[in-house]
C-alpha cells in the first residue's frame, strides 16, 4: 500500500509502542498468574492434603479398620458359602421364580378383567337408571344389574386371591435368597468405612501416573482456573448482612479456605506429621456437637465464622484477616514471622480466646441463663452484671432486671445511726469484707495528699484529697439522714428469748441465704455448716457483726415484714410468729455466741466532720452557673431561701449535689431522687464502640512504661476494647492517671473489688453488647426456651436452691472395662458417721475420704445412691459401690445446702465452741431442749438424735424439687408461690412468701413444667431399658406400668444399650444419646424408641405437656370408684395415721416425725400421673422417703375393703377418691 502521506504516525514507532505495551501486558499477566498461583492460602491447602493423607493412611491401618476388613472378609466367606448353597438349589429357585412369573401374569389378567367388569357395571347402571327415569319403570333391569354386580364381585375376590398368591410366592423367593441378601448387605456395611477411606486416599495421593500428571496440570500456573485442587472455600451467609463502608451485603466468610478441617471431626494434635503434632489452621474446631456441624445449633453454613470470632471473613491473608496473637510473646513471634500488625481500619478485630464467649450475647440475650453451661464465663458476667448492680448505673436496653440493687435509704433513721453510716460509706469493706457495695471514696484519683482544687475558684488555699473526701462523706450522710423521716421502728411487742432464738434462727430458714463465716484471716474453731460459705448462703449478707449496726426494734419489724421497710427487697416474708421473730431478734442482738457483735480489726466508728470552706468550694463547683454574685449572696445569708451562711443548710445543699454526682441514688432509693436517671454511660452498644473512641488517656503509655515495653509493639497488643474494660474494672479511676481535672471532671465509677475471674467475666459480657446487624437480628427462642430462661432467672434471683435441690449431683467413674459413666447420684454415708459427705468437687471429696481414713478405717469402696434410673446399674434409690480409683469426677448438686443444716441440727444439735475449755470439752453440742431435744411445731421438746439422716431429711427439711414439674399442677404451683402456706405441718422452716410479681411466679411454675417435659424422653428411655432387664424378661413383661414392675422384682439383669440396639432398630449410641437427653438424638429417634417400648409392653406415664393442664378430677373412673377408694384409704392403708386431711391432724398427732402432707390438697396440687407412680413405688421418686409402698405386695392387700381387687384397681380407686372427694372431709370422719 502506498504511503498516502497523510498519516500522523510512523508505523515503526507504532510497532515499537505495540511491542512495549504487549511486553508490559505479558509481564503483567504472567505476574498476575504467578502471584495468584503463589497465593499463601494455597500452601495451606497443600499442607492440609499432606496431613489428610497421613491421617487417612493411619486410619486405614487402624485396628478398627483392620477389624472391619477382617469382619468383611469373614462375612465374604460366609457369603460365598451361602451363594454356593443357593446355587445348589438353583432348580428350586428357578421353579419359584417361574411360579412367580406365572402368578404375576395371571394377576395382571384378572386385574384387567376386574377393571373392565367395574366399567361395565357402571355403564349398565347408568343405562338402567336412565331407562327407569324416562319410562317410569322403577323396577326395570334389576335382574341384569344383579348379574353385572355378581360378575364384578367375583372377579374382585379372585383378584385379591391372586394378589395374595403373588405375595406368598414373593416371600418364598425372598426366604430362599434371604441368607445371601442379608450377608451381602452386612458385607457392604462392614466394608463401608474402609472403602470410603481407600477412595479418599486414592484421591489425595493417586497411584496411577496419569492421575498424578493430571494433578500437576490442575495446579499448573495459568491452568489452575479450570479445575484446581486448591479452591477458596467460602460460606455465603445471605441471612446475615454485613456493613462495610456504608454498603450492605451478604456476609461472606472464607476462613475455611485455610481452616479446612474446622468442621471435620478428628483433626487433633494427636496427628503427627513429619514428627510434629499438627496445629492450626489444620485442627478441628472444638465441640462440634455445639458448633459448626450441620446438626449442631450453630451450623457453619448458616452462621459462618466471623459472627463469633470476629476478624475479617473476606480476607485470604493471615494479617488482613486480623488474626490476634495470644500474649505478647506470640505477638513478637508473629511480627518477625508474618510482619504482623493490627488492622487499624477494621472495627471488629478477632477476639482473644478468653473473650470468645462475648459473642454469645449478641444472639442469646433472651437465653443467657440457658447457655450457662456452654458459655460459663459470659453467663457469669451476666449474673455479676446483675448481682453487683452494674445495670443500675449503666443502662443496657434489654437487660431484664430493673430493681434498685441496694437497700432503700428512705427510712434509714429507723435502722441505723449516723456515725455507723459515716464509717460504712467511707469504706464498706472495713465492716463487711464480702459486701457487694462498692467503695466510692478514698480511691486513686483522690490521693489524700494530692491537691484536688484550690478554693475560691483558684484563688485561695489548696484543698487536698483527704479533706475533700471527708466533706463529701459528711454532706452525703447529712442529706441521707435529713431526707429520711425521723421515725423509729415500732417497738417489739413481746420480749424474746435468745436461747430459743438460736434454734429458731437455725431452723426458720435464715441460714439458707445468710452465713456467719469468719473474716478473711480469721480461723473459726468450728466445723459447723452455718459458718461455711457456699453458693447459696452468700445470697444475703454475711451476718457477722450485724448487731453492732442494727436497731433492735427495726430488726424485729424487718423479720416480721421485710417489704414494709424495703418494698423491693429480695428478703422473703418467712411467716414467723411474733414469738419466733422476737426470739431471733434477741439471739442476734444479745449475741450469746459472739458472732453478731464480732467486727473486723479495721472497723472503727468515726463520725464525719466537715469544713465550711471546703463545702463552699464544693458549692461553687456544683452551682457555678449561679455566678459569683449570687453565690456570695447565698454564702452571706442574704438569700432567704438559701441561707448558706448556716453550715447545716450548706451541708445539705452540697450533700444533695454529691449524691446526684456520685450516683448513690442509682442503687438506693433516696428521698428526692426517685425519678433521677442513673449516672453511668449506657452500655447497650458498648461493644461496638471503636477503640479510638475509648478514652485511654495516658494509660497505654504508662503501662508500656511500667512494663518496660517498646511502645508500638506490646502496647499495640494491649490496645483492644477488652483491655480497656479490664483496666477500668481493675481500677475504675485508672484513666485519671496523670490527668489534670477539676473535681467534677474526675471519674466517678466506684471500686468493686472484683477478682480477676470476675473482671474477665464482666468484660466478656460488656464486650458482647454490640449493635451490628447480627445482634439486631435477635434469635427466635422457642416459647419453651424463653419460659425456661425466665424461670431459671427467677429461681436464681430468689435463691430457691438454698432450700431446694433443683438439679441432682452427678458422679463420673470408669467401670471395670474403663468405660466412662456419668450418673445422677449422691454419696452414701460413710460407716460410723451420720451425714453423707457433701458433694462439691472431686478434690474436696478426695480430701474428705482421706480425712475419714485417717480417723476411722480404710475404705474399700465408696457408695453412691442413684437419683435416677441408670439402666447399666440399677433403679433410683439403689446403691452402687465403686473403688477410689474408678472415681473420676463429681458435679455438685444444685441447691439444698440448707437441708444439711437442718438435718445436722436434728441429728446433732449445734456444735458449740467453748473458748475457756480444753480438749474434747472444747466442743459441745447444744439444742434448745435438754438431751438434744428440739422444739417441735407443737411446742413439745423431742429428741431425734437416734434417727437416721434420711428420716430427718425427708421429714424436717425442705423438699427436693427434682422433677417438680411432673409432680405438681402448674396452676397450683403458681398460686402457691403467690400465697404460700405450710404443706408439711411438721417443718419448723416454712415456705416463705417471696417478693415476686405474678409474672415471675408464673415463670417459676412454667420453668419446672417445661423442664419436666424436656427431661421426660430421657427418663422414659432409661426406664425402658431398665425394664427390659427386669424378670420376667422383656418379652413377658406385659402391660404392667413401670413403677409396678419395679415393685415386683428382687433380681434383675442389665440389658446394655448394645444389646437393646438391634431389637429397637436403633444404634446403641443413639439410645445412649436419648438416655442422656441429647436433643438431636431425641428429635430424630425417640418416636421409634417409643414404638419399640410399646411393642415390648412397656408403659410409663407420659410426658408432661405444659400447654395442657391435665387434671384427673374428671378421670375415667370419676366417682365410680370413689367409695371403694375411701375404704381402702381409711381402713386399708390407714393413710391418716400419718397424713393430715383438710387441716385435721393424723392419728399420730403426738409424733410430728410421722406426719405427712395434707391429702386434702391433692386434687388441686398434684398431677394424677405422678400420684399414681408415687402410690406404686415412692422410693423410685424420693429414695429413702418415709412414705411406704402400700400396694407392693404380690398378694394384693386390702381385700376386706375392696373385694377381689388387684393392686392396680386399688390404686385407681384411691386416686378416684383423692382427686374427687368432698373438700369438707376430715380425718375425724373415719
Amino acid at each position: 500500500m502506498a504511503d498516502r502521506g497523510d498519516t500522523h504516525y510512523k508505523v515503526s514507532t507504532l510497532n515499537m509502542w505495540f511491542l512495549l505495551s504487549s511486553g508490559f501486558l505479558l509481564v503483567a499477566t504472567a505476574w498476575m498468574v504467578i502471584d495468584d498461583w503463589n497465593a499463601p492460602w494455597k500452601k495451606y491447602q497443600a499442607e492440609f492434603r499432606k496431613i489428610d493423607e497421613v491421617r487417612t493412611r493411619d486410619r486405614i491401618e487402624s485396628a478398627e479398620m483392620q477389624a472391619q476388613a477382617e469382619s468383611a472378609a469373614g462375612i465374604g466367606v460366609l457369603l460365598a458359602e451361602a451363594t454356593s448353597r443357593l446355587d445348589a438349589r438353583q432348580d428350586e429357585v428357578s421353579g419359584v421364580e417361574q411360579e412367580l412369573h406365572e402368578a404375576k401374569g395371571k394377576l395382571f389378567e384378572v386385574s384387567e378383567n376386574t377393571k373392565k367388569a367395574k366399567q361395565n357395571l357402571a355403564w349398565e347402571r347408568y343405562l338402567i337408571e336412565e331407562h327407569r327415569n324416562h319410562e317410569n319403570e322403577p323396577t326395570y333391569g334389576e335382574e341384569r344389574l344383579r348379574e353385572f354386580t355378581r360378575v364384578f364381585v367375583e372377579l374382585q375376590a379372585e383378584e385379591e386371591q391372586r394378589a395374595a398368591t403373588v405375595d406368598e410366592i414373593t416371600e418364598r423367593l425372598a426366604d430362599l435368597n434371604e441368607e445371601v441378601t442379608s450377608l451381602a448387605g452386612k458385607k457392604k456395611a462392614a466394608q463401608g468405612g474402609l472403602t470410603t477411606l481407600q477412595k479418599k486416599l486414592n484421591r489425595l495421593a493417586p497411584e496411577a501416573p496419569t492421575e498424578k500428571l493430571a494433578n500437576v496440570l490442575r495446579d499448573f500456573p495459568g491452568l489452575d482456573f479450570v479445575d484446581p485442587r486448591n479452591k477458596v472455600k467460602k460460606q455465603v451467609l445471605s441471612d446475615l448482612s454485613f456493613e462495610l463502608n456504608f454498603t450492605k451485603g451478604a456476609r461472606i466468610d472464607m476462613c475455611q479456605t485455610c481452616h479446612e478441617a474446622a468442621d471435620m471431626p478428628g483433626y487433633t494434635s494427636d496427628i503427627i506429621v513429619d514428627g510434629e503434632p499438627i496445629a492450626n489452621p489444620y485442627l478441628t474446631h472444638p465441640n462440634l456437637d455445639l458448633y459448626l456441624s450441620a446438626k449442631s445449633p450453630h451450623p457453619v453454613t448458616e452462621m459462618g465464622c466471623t459472627i463469633c470470632h470476629r476478624g475479617s471473613g473476606q480476607a485470604l491473608d493471615f494479617i488482613r484477616a486480623d488474626h490476634r496473637p495470644v500474649g505478647g510473646e506470640q505477638m513478637e513471634e508473629w511480627r518477625k514471622k508474618y510482619h504482623w500488625h493490627k488492622q487499624h481500619h477494621w472495627d471488629y478485630p478477632m477476639l482473644d480466646s478468653d473473650f470468645i464467649e462475648a459473642s454469645c450475647v449478641q444472639c442469646h440475650k433472651g437465653s443467657m441463663e440457658l447457655i450457662a453451661e456452654a458459655a460459663p464465663t459470659v453467663s457469669e458476667g451476666y449474673r455479676l452484671f446483675e448481682e453487683r448492680g452494674c445495670y443500675s448505673c449503666h443502662k443496657v436496653e434489654w437487660f431484664p432486671t430493673t430493681r434498685k440493687p441496694g437497700p432503700t435509704l428512705k427510712n434509714l433513721q429507723a435502722k441505723l445511726d449516723r456515725t455507723w453510716v459515716d464509717s460504712w460509706v467511707a469504706n464498706p469493706t472495713n465492716f463487711r469484707p464480702s459486701t457487694k457495695m462498692p467503695r466510692i471514696f478514698h480511691l486513686s484519683n483522690y490521693e489524700p495528699e494530692a491537691v484536688i482544687t484550690t478554693s475560691e475558684w483558684g484563688e485561695g488555699r489548696e484543698m487536698l484529697g483527704q479533706e475533700w473526701t471527708e466533706n463529701m462523706i459528711a454532706s452525703i450522710t447529712a442529706y441521707l439522714f435529713n431526707a429520711a423521716p425521723k421515725r423509729a421502728a415500732d417497738p417489739m411487742p413481746i420480749p424474746g428469748d435468745a436461747d430459743r432464738g438460736r434454734e429458731s434462727y437455725r431452723l426458720a430458714g435464715c441460714l439458707a441465704c445468710h452465713n456467719m463465716a469468719g473474716y478473711p484471716g480469721q480461723t473459726l474453731p468450728t466445723i459447723d455448716l452455718a459458718f461455711q460459705p457456699n453458693n447459696e448462703n452468700e445470697h444475703g449478707p454475711n451476718l457477722r457483726g450485724v448487731a453492732t449496726k442494727l436497731n433492735r426494734d427495726w430488726l424485729y419489724q424487718w423479720l416480721m415484714d421485710p417489704k414494709a421497710y424495703w418494698p423491693e427487697t429480695r428478703m422473703p416474708d418467712l411467716g414467723l410468729s411474733q414469738q419466733e421473730a422476737a426470739d431471733i431478734t434477741a439471739y442476734i442482738m444479745d449475741d450469746p455466741d459472739g458472732i453478731f457483735r464480732d467486727v473486723t480489726d479495721v472497723w472503727e466508728l468515726e463520725e464525719s466532720t466537715y469544713d465550711a470552706e471546703v463545702l463552699r468550694e464544693m458549692a461553687r463547683e456544683f452551682f457555678s452557673r449561679l455566678g459569683r454574685t449570687e453565690l456570695a449572696r447565698r454564702f452571706a445569708g442574704e438569700n432567704p431561701e438559701f441561707r448558706w451562711d448556716r453550715e447545716e443548710d450548706l451541708l445539705l445543699a452540697v450533700g444533695e449535689r454529691q449524691i446526684g454526682h456520685n450516683g448513690c441514688f442509682s442503687c438506693h432509693l433516696i428521698g428526692g431522687f426517685e425519678e433521677t436517671s442513673p449516672i453511668g454511660v449506657e452500655l447497650t452498644n458498648w461493644g461496638s464502640k471503636t477503640v479510638d473512641k475509648l478514652a485511654w488517656e495516658f494509660r497505654a503509655k504508662i503501662m508500656a512504661h511500667e512494663n518496660g515495653w517498646d511502645l508500638g509493639t506490646r502496647e499495640e497488643f494491649k490496645h483492644y476494647r477488652e483491655n480497656w474494660i479490664e483496666e477500668k474494672l481493675k481500677n475504675p479511676r485508672i484513666f485519671d492517671e496523670q490527668k489534670v481535672k477539676s473535681p467534677l471532671e474526675l471519674t466517678r465509677m466506684p471500686q468493686f473489688g472484683l477478682s480477676d475471674s470476675e473482671i474477665l467475666a464482666i468484660s466478656n459480657f460488656v464486650v458482647g453488647l454490640v449493635d451490628d446487624e447480627v445482634a439486631l437480628a435477635e434469635m427466635d427462642e422457642s416459647p419453651a426456651d424463653a419460659a425456661m430462661d425466665y424461670g431459671m432467672r427467677v429461681v436464681r434471683q430468689q435463691n430457691c436452691m438454698a432450700c431446694h435441690v433443683v438439679e441432682p449431683g452427678r458422679v463420673q467413674f470408669h467401670d471395670e472395662e474403663g468405660v466412662l459413666h456419668d450418673i445422677a447420684a449422691e454419696p452414701v454415708i460413710f460407716d460410723g458417721l451420720d451425714m453423707p459427705p457433701k458433694m462439691e468437687d472431686i478434690d474436696q471429696f478426695r480430701q474428705y475420704i482421706a480425712d475419714y481414713e485417717a480417723e476411722f478405717e480404710e475404705l474399700e469402696d465408696i457408695g453412691f445412691r442413684l437419683l435416677e434410673v441408670a439402666p447399666d446399674f440399677g433403679l433410683t434409690g439403689e446403691s452402687i459401690y465403686i473403688t477410689k480409683d474408678q472415681l473420676v469426677g463429681l458435679k455438685s448438686p444444685q441447691g439444698g445446702d440448707f437441708v444439711r443444716v437442718v438435718a445436722d441440727y436434728y441429728l446433732n444439735g449445734i456444735e458449740m465452741f467453748d473458748p475457756e475449755a480444753t480438749g474434747d470439752q472444747k466442743y459441745y453440742s447444744w439444742t434448745y431442749g435438754p438431751d438434744g431435744a428440739v422444739a417441735d411445731v407443737d411446742g413439745e421438746l423431742r429428741s431425734y438424735h437416734d434417727q437416721g439422716y434420711d428420716k430427718v431429711r425427708w421429714t424436717f427439711a425442705p423438699p427436693v424439687l427434682l422433677d417438680e414439674g411432673s409432680k405438681v399442677q402448674r396452676s397450683w404451683f403458681y398460686s402457691f408461690l403467690m400465697d404460700p402456706f405450710p404443706i408439711r405441718q411438721q417443718l419448723r422452716v416454712h415456705m416463705p412468701a417471696f417478693n415476686i410479681t405474678e409474672s415471675e411466679s408464673a415463670a417459676v411454675a412454667n420453668y419446672f413444667a417445661h423442664k419436666a417435659e424436656q427431661e421426660s424422653p430421657a427418663s422414659y428411655a432409661r426406664a425402658m431399658r431398665a425394664s427390659a432387664g427386669i424378670t420376667p424378661k422383656r418379652s413377658l413383661a406385659g402391660k404392667r406400668p413401670w413403677p409396678e414392675l419395679t415393685n415386683q422384682i428382687q433380681d434383675k439383669e442389665v440389658v446394655t444399650a448394645a444389646e437393646l440396639a438391634p431389637m429397637a432398630g436403633l444404634a446403641a449410641k443413639t439410645i445412649l444419646g436419648i438416655e442422656d437427653g441429647s436433643k438431636p438424638d431425641t428429635e430424630a429417634s425417640f418416636d421409634k424408641l417409643e414404638v419399640f417400648g410399646d411393642s415390648i409392653g412397656f408403659s410409663k406415664s407420659g410426658a408432661v405437656n405444659p400447654s395442657i393442664e391435665a387434671i384427673l378430677q374428671q378421670s375415667a373412673s370419676y366417682h365410680s370408684l370413689e367409695g371403694l377408694g375411701r375404704e381402702v384409704a381409711f381402713k386399708g392403708v390407714n393413710c391418716f395415721t400419718c397424713h393430715w386431711l383438710n387441716g385435721t391432724g393424723p392419728t399420730q398427732l403426738d409424733s410430728p416425725i410421722a406426719w405427712a402432707p395434707d391429702l386434702g390438697l391433692t386434687r388441686d396440687r398434684l398431677r394424677p400421673d405422678w400420684t399414681r407412680d408415687w402410690l406404686w413405688n415412692p422410693n423410685l421418686i424420693y429414695p429413702g422417703t418415709s412414705m411406704a409402698a402400700n400396694f407392693a405386695s404380690s398378694e394384693p392387700q386390702y381385700q376386706a375393703q375392696y373385694p377381689d381387687s388387684t393392686n392396680a384397681q386399688q390404686i385407681e380407686a384411691v386416686l378416684d377418691w383423692l382427686f374427687n372427694f368432698d373438700r369438707t372431709e376430715s380425718a375425724d370422719n373415719n
Partner: protein, 279 residues
Amino acid sequence: MKLVSSATLLLLTGLALAYPPVVLAPDSASSAEAGAVCCSPSSDVRRNVYVTPTPSEEGKGKAHGRVVFDGEIPKRKELSITEAQSKGCVQADEAINKQDLTLLVGEDKGIANAVVTIAVPDQELNVPEENIVLDQVQCRFDQHIVLAPLGATVEYRNSDDVPHNVHTYSLRNKAFNRTLSAQTSYEQALQHAEVIQIRCDIHPWMSAYVFVADSNFATITDEHGGFEISGLAPGEYTAKIWHEKLGKTEVKVVVSEEGESEAVSVPMKLKVKRSRRRR
C-alpha cells in the same frame, strides 16, 4: 449421739471352711437349737442367733470374754410413747412395752446386745433353710438384734391388728419401705453382709437390727456382756465387736493347741460428738 446410723455396714471378709460342733449362744437355752427361736417380748435382751459353725475335727477351741462399758453406767430411760401414739397396739387393759433397748448396760457394766464376729477364712456359711421371722407384736419388734448369716431369708411379719411399715436402712442390700397391713408378711433374701436397721415410720420408737454376718463364728452378748464362740481351730483371730450405739471395736483372741483361750475383756465407750465429719 449417733455413731451408727442407718448407714452402718460391716465389712467382714471371712470366707468358708468347716469346724467342729459347739454349743452356741451361752445365755439362751433356746438358741442352742439354731434356727427358729424367739425370746419372750419381755426379755431385756431379745436377741437371736441364727448362725452355727459346721462340726469338724480340729475346731474344738473357743473364744470367750466380756464386752464392758467404759464410763459411768448410763441411766435407763423409758421410751416416750403416748397413748395416742400407741392406739390399737395393745388391749385396753394392757400397757405398751416402753423399754428402751438401744444401750443396755448391766450393774456389772456388761453390755448386752453387742455382736461379736470372728472372720475365719474358707468357711462355708450354714444358711438356715427356714425363714428367719422378725415379727411385730404389740408395736414392738419381737427381736431387737437378729444375727443372720449371709444368704438367709428374713420374713418380716406383722402379727398386730394395726398396720406397720417395714422401712429398712441398708446400703448394700436393696433398701425398701413397704406397708404390712395386719397379719401379713414380706420376705427378703440377705445378699450382702452389713447391718440393716429396721424401723416403722408409723411408730417411731420401733427399731431393730438385722446383722448379716459373713461368718459362722458369731454371737450376741448376754446381759452381762458375756460371749462365747466355739468351734475354732487353734490359731490367732480378730474378734470384731459391733454395738448399735457404741460403734465398732476389735480384739485379738488366741486359741491354743489345746483349744483353750484366755477370756478377753473388751471396753467400749460413748464416743465424743466430735468424731462426726460434715463438710
